[in-house]
């Protein structure tokens, strides 16, 4: 049961990743692209966790943790750039 | 346990980092004192290393107490000790020269010079090819920052070329290391020499690819045709004391070529023996042609100096490319000579530029120099030795190299080019000298005189020209023994694989 649902989730995450990429390429505005990137980060977290469950290994969970934290910083910096141009002032 | 061999690396690092701390940070005077004392100590350390090496000892040092090939090792043999001493001498003179005021033109001058020396010394001493890459990075990143010392548009834009090309070079270096590690499975150069002897056919070809890639990176550092075009502008716009230390940078590339060619791709390497040697020979001849053109057309003293550096690279690599024991020994002599003389000439160019106001170091009639006599004498000595005129070291070097290239098929190419290079230098120097010193207007303005320590710095470097000629006998004995040692290492690489201290 778990195996099947894991497979379904992996397929869905893959589709989500593809769609994120599509949205990122298509744009057309910068906020949309930034949003796509942020979503890509979140989906990657999901991907790593699910994959960890499939492999029964927690070795990569810290990577997910870092994506969660650093992805936020990255998005925040991008937004600040849109807002002010100068991100550290 | 003797840790002397680590000092040429650790000591500059400590000197550099200490100067970032509050005690030294705010006082340029304190920085000068510690840097000069430190450089002098380094010279003493290097001399001690050289003495030990010239007695025939090979110092092996297993860093982290891991036996080779698993850990990184330092190798203090005749070749590396000689190069380290050369670096220390340059560092001392450059720092002395800079202490007259150039050091105050921007931040971190001494720390960066120390880091640079650390990188260069490390590159000479390491026995591990990845560690060589690391030290290349250290010396490069320090050189990037030193190039822009003193600021200005020219320096920055010339530095951009240098930085970009070297970043591409580092990327290729990594590729090459990846390939070589893939086929040989080891990074210790002596161990690599052992492993190349046991490769199968497709591994040999892959190693060739990696080896040739490595050669192209070293050729970029050495400024071999067609990878030398970046050098004149970069060197000519760099600050004087910095570029004096840079005189050794091309030699780092040449050193790496010599090391790799004579250890890993030496006579026992089977199909990989003398990998790329033909290329080196042909391209070195081409380098001589290009440098000759450059020397003749040089519009300023520093440009002339830069093209002379390339000329010396061509000369050296002709000897390396010819590949006999004699020619290699001659190349080592010439390397020492050309580094010191080149550095001295850059500093002379810097003094000239400083004293001539608007015309700087351009070879045009202009305001009279403040100290025409002393500068003239230094210029004259530097010119003689760089042209290869007797009785100074340049003559001995050129004689040794030409004599060592003794097969008629090779000398037909090498001799004329070497001699024409000398003639071009002669023409360029007599033109530059008579313009700068004799076609000047106005009386010398002694208020513009340069600091005495600048002349002392140049004097230290230039004193090598007569001394190396006078003691050419012992020095050639040393270089001959160095080549013998390299051959012995190639014959049995296990003798330079360090063992740690037993627990």
């Amino acid at each position: 049961m778990l195996e099947i649902s894991l497979k379904i989730v992996l397929v869905m995450i893959s589709i989500a990743l593809i769609m994120n990429t599509y949205s990122l390429v298509r744009g057309p505005s910068l906020p949309e692209r930034i949003l796509s990137l942020d979503t890509l980060y979140i989906n990657s977290i999901g991907l790593i966790l699910i994959y960890g469950i499939v492999q029964a290994s927690s070795i990569n969970f810290e990577a997910a943790l870092l994506i969660a934290m650093l992805g936020f910083v990255s998005t925040a910096a991008l937004c600040k750039y849109l807002l002010r141009g100068d991100i550290i002032e | 346990m003797n840790h002397l061999i680590t000092l040429p690396i650790i000591l500059p690092l400590l000197l550099a980092t200490l100067q970032l701390l509050p005690v030294f940070e705010k006082s340029i005077e304190r920085q000068r004192v510690i840097s000069l004392v430190g450089s002098l100590t380094l010279v003493i350390v290097s001399v001690a290393l050289l003495m030990s090496a010239s007695a025939g000892n090979v110092t092996l040092y297993a860093l982290g107490n891991w036996d080779a090939p698993f850990g990184i090792q330092l190798v203090g043999d005749r070749l590396s000790s000689l190069m380290v001493l050369l670096t220390s001498l340059l560092l001392l003179s450059a720092n002395l020269y800079a202490s007259a005021g150039d050091d105050n033109q921007g931040r971190y001058f001494y720390p960066l010079m120390m880091f640079q020396a650390m990188g260069i010394n490390g590159a000479f001493l390491t026995g591990d090819i990845f560690n060589l890459f690391v030290f290349f990075e250290i010396l490069l990143i320090a050189s990037y920052s030193l190039l822009i010392h003193g600021g200005g548009k020219h320096k920055t834009s010339a530095a951009v070329h240098y930085v970009f090309l070297n970043l591409v070079g580092s990327a290729i270096f990594l590729f090459a290391l990846g390939i070589i590690y893939g086929t040989l499975g080891t990074l210790n150069m002596a161990d690599m020499a052992l492993r190349v002897r046991e490769l199968n056919e497709s591994e040999i070809q892959l190693t060739k690819i990696g080896g040739m890639m490595l050669l192209s990176v070293f050729a970029l550092k050495a400024a071999l045709l067609p990878l030398q075009f970046w050098l004149p502008r970069t060197y000519a716009s760099a600050p004087g004391p910095v570029v004096a230390l840079f005189a050794i940078m091309t030699k780092v590339g040449i050193y790496s070529i010599i090391r790799v060619q004579n250890l890993i791709f030496g006579d026992s390497a089977g199909a990989l023996t003398d990998l790329g040697q033909d290329w080196i020979w042909v391209l070195a001849l081409g380098t001589l042609v290009m440098a000759t053109l450059g020397v003749i057309s040089a519009p300023s003293v520093k440009r002339l100096a830069a093209h002379l550096v390339i000329l010396s690279v061509g000369t050296l690599l002709v000897a390396v490319g010819f590949g006999s024991a004699n020619s290699l020994s001659a190349a080592l002599y010439y390397a020492v000579h050309s580094t010191l003389a080149g550095a001295a000439f850059f500093l002379i160019g810097d003094i000239i530029a400083e004293q001539r106001e608007r015309s700087f170091d351009r070879i045009v009639a202009g305001r009279s120099l403040a100290q025409p006599m002393s500068i003239g004498i230094l210029f004259f000595i530097a010119a003689l030795t760089l042209i290869g005129m007797p009785p100074l070291s340049g003559f001995i070097g050129k004689f040794l190299i030409m004599k060592s290239i003794d097969s008629s098929s090779a000398l037909v190419w090498a001799w004329p080019l070497l001699l024409i290079g000398s003639l071009a230098a002669l023409v360029a120097f007599s033109r530059a000298g008579s313009t700068l010193f004799w076609r000047s207007n106005g009386k010398p303005d002694s208020s513009k005189a340069s600091a005495t320590r600048k002349f002392i710095a140049v004097g230290i470097l230039l004193s090598a020209a007569p001394l190396m000629s006078l003691f050419a006998g012992p020095i050639t004995q040393y270089t001959d023994a160095t080549v013998e040692q390299l051959q012995a290492f190639e014959h049995d690489p296990t003798q330079i694989m360090a063992k740690g201290v037993q627990q």
Binding site: N60, S74 | N65, L165
Partner: protein
Amino acid sequence: MLNLFWIPLLTLIGVFVSLSANRVSRTACAYATAALPAAALAIVISYAPSVLDGEHFVEQFEWIPAVGLELAFRLDGFALLFALLILGIGLLVILYARYYLSEQDNMPRFYAMLILFMTAMLGIVLSENLIQLWLFWELTSISSFLLISFWNHKSEARKGARMALTITGMGGLALFAGILLIGQVVGSFNLTDVLAQGDLIRGSELYPYILVLVLLGAFTKSAQFPFHFWLPHAMAAPTPVSAYLHSATMVKAGIFLMARLYPALAGTDMWFLIVTLTGLATLLVGAYMALFKHDLKGLLAYSTISHLGLITLLLGLNSKLAAVAATFHIINHATFKASLFMAAGIIDHETGSRDMRKLNGLWRYMPHTAMLAMVAALAMAGVPLLNGFLSKEMFFAETLQQGSLGALSWILPVLATVAGIFSVAYSLRFIHDVFFNGEPINLPKTPHEPPRYMKIPVEILVALCFVVGIAPGLVVAEILHSAATSLLQGETPYYSLAIWHGFNFPLLMSFIALLGGIVVYATRKQLFEFQAQFPERDAKAIFDQNIKRIVDAATRIYGTLENGSLQRYTMLFILSVALFTTVPMTKLINLEGARPLLPVDGISIVATIILVVSTLVTLIWHRKRMIALIAVSVVGLIVSLIFARFSAPDLALTQLSVEVVTVILLMLALFFLPQVTAKAASPSSVVRDLGLATLIGGVMATISYAMMTHPQTSIADFFIANSKTGGGGTNVVNVILVDFRGFDTFGEITVLGIAGLGIYKLIARMKLFMPSADLNGIPWSNDHHPMMLATVSRALLPLALLVSAYIFLRGHNLPGGGFIAGLVTAVALILQYIANGVDFMRERSKLNYQWLISVGLIIAGATGMGSWLFGYPFLSSWFDYFYLPGIGKFELASAMLFDLGVYLTVIGSTLLILGNLGALTTHARPEESK
């Protein structure tokens, strides 16, 4: 012992004596200068009796034994003759120069250079080793350069000096190559060996090259046609220099060399043809040109060229008698020409002019000088009872003996007589024009006799001309014999030095020459008119033009190659890499190795697609910087996912944290870049770049594929096996980083630290333009620090620090370590900068990032050095396990301390860069910060 060494050594010391004699009177300076050469002369004379008895002396001293280079001196008859000439005439010139130089001239400098030249010249003639001979040979070129340019404020002196240096320098290099070739054939550079191996050299296939190269050296030095043109321009030198260098000594160096190597090189048809014809051409050209020079010194210069040609011609004849005649003429020419130059110098000195169109009738003003000059000039013309007559007779006789040209052999004596005619004519002109022929015209000074002592050198030399001319057997027979013997390295043939040989052909030729000379001089008006039809060719201008042409051509060629284009240099580099690697790649038959490929799964395909798409987006939209930046972030993310997928969690973590720092760095930099995008590349360069990228990309991809499919064995197995037992950690990657290869890490954090310092150095003084609106012209928002962001960020800081502490501590055993932890901390702090601003942080954080770098590096270094205390090499690690109640069993390792150094350096460097790059704008915006 080593007495010969004292000869050049004494004169060398004399250089410094002269230099230091700058405080004393001019006369004292001259005496001080003369002292050591006189001592050297004494040594030479002390050897003379034994040398004249046929002995020769060789002394040597090892210099570079490995290549057969030793300091070796040789004194035989020929060397003795030259040494006497050099020192004897040298001393006379020193005396003469004392009165010639004016108060303004720097006399010590002049003497020093003159003595330096004397040393070099002595070195040449006394050298036993050919390389050493070359050393002194070049030294004469250098010192002659300095002497010609002694009056360096004069343009003609500078140019004349440069021309002489360039021509003789060129010849010198050819000679060097020739000597090296001789060394290769003979196996030694020692004259004794070389002279003994004449047949070996002449038989060698290298002989033609050796001969041409050596002769190039000799001909340029001795001003032989067509290299003669530098000599007249060297006359810009002070006259003592001309008298010494350009008549008696330096120009004889080429002759000396030919004579010295005569036993080794002469005797072939090639030698005969080249040397004889060159000598003949020089003889004629010199004699003819001399007649038309209005400048006294110019006349003497061409006359010198002509006489040098005569000697060369004699040496070329391959006859022993001719060689004797050549030796004899060397002596004679040196004496009469040196005295003539000195006389010309006196005239110049006392009248202020050297122009023969102005100098007339000086007999009345300076009869003594005129007498001396006339005798010397008659010797030059070859008038009987003077020394010039004797050697000229021998010369004529030798041209008659020559049969090598077969049916054309008559041409040689005829041309020799023609040269003799001109020689008489120009000598007559020298005498008649200067001393008679009416009254002086517009001279700057009223002529009068020079100081007494100035005439003494001339008197001595003229007396020699007389004595030799009248009683040759008494005066020169012995030295001539010994010189000729050592020149020929064997017995000399019979010759007679008598003045009267009866009525014969040579006498007839002399008679024709005398008579013809008088006729030519009488008809000089017509000849001058004839000569005037030819355009004046100024060798200096031509030489200058040629040099300029070479420089221009070099500049043009070089300029098109080094055009300052970074694109081109990069292209050359990439092409070189591609070229170097493609050759072995074509030899690689099995691209795919034995290693089995892994199965493909869906997720990998998706990741690859995203990677490719986002890379393409970056490339296509690289001018729209923000889009490219976002796309690059995706590339980074996918790469870290790939690392995670292929079991490299450490790499994944590192890649992720580096990625964020990079993106922030890029944004900080992007802000300052010009808003307008750069001009699009031309289509051709797009095609070029695309081709280049495809090429190198293809090469790299092929190699990567080959590498990954080939099985490998490596030292990695050792690391895996020893990580826990030897390094005390289960995370092999971390143990490699901080232990096995800790030295690399040590180096890399140094790189990071330097990068921080370097970037701060670059930006510290920078003033940059700040755009006030974004790309689309929309002004920036006024909300500097949005409250939501500020609040969330502050909450994030402790969390992030906790995470980094966790990652740091577990690093040795599980993915993590100081580097990643440092980056996480740095990013968390940067977030505070972004969210709250520089001022906010400055109030709260007293961290000095530069010190942080320093402390980090010192901790890492000190950890390494700590092992010295225990007798282990740098960076040897130590670890042990401990137990504390409440915490449990834990491990302490020196590697952790090292990792702490890494951690601090990373934080310091990252923040030094980002914090300061951000702060650039803070100060530059005063109107807003209010």
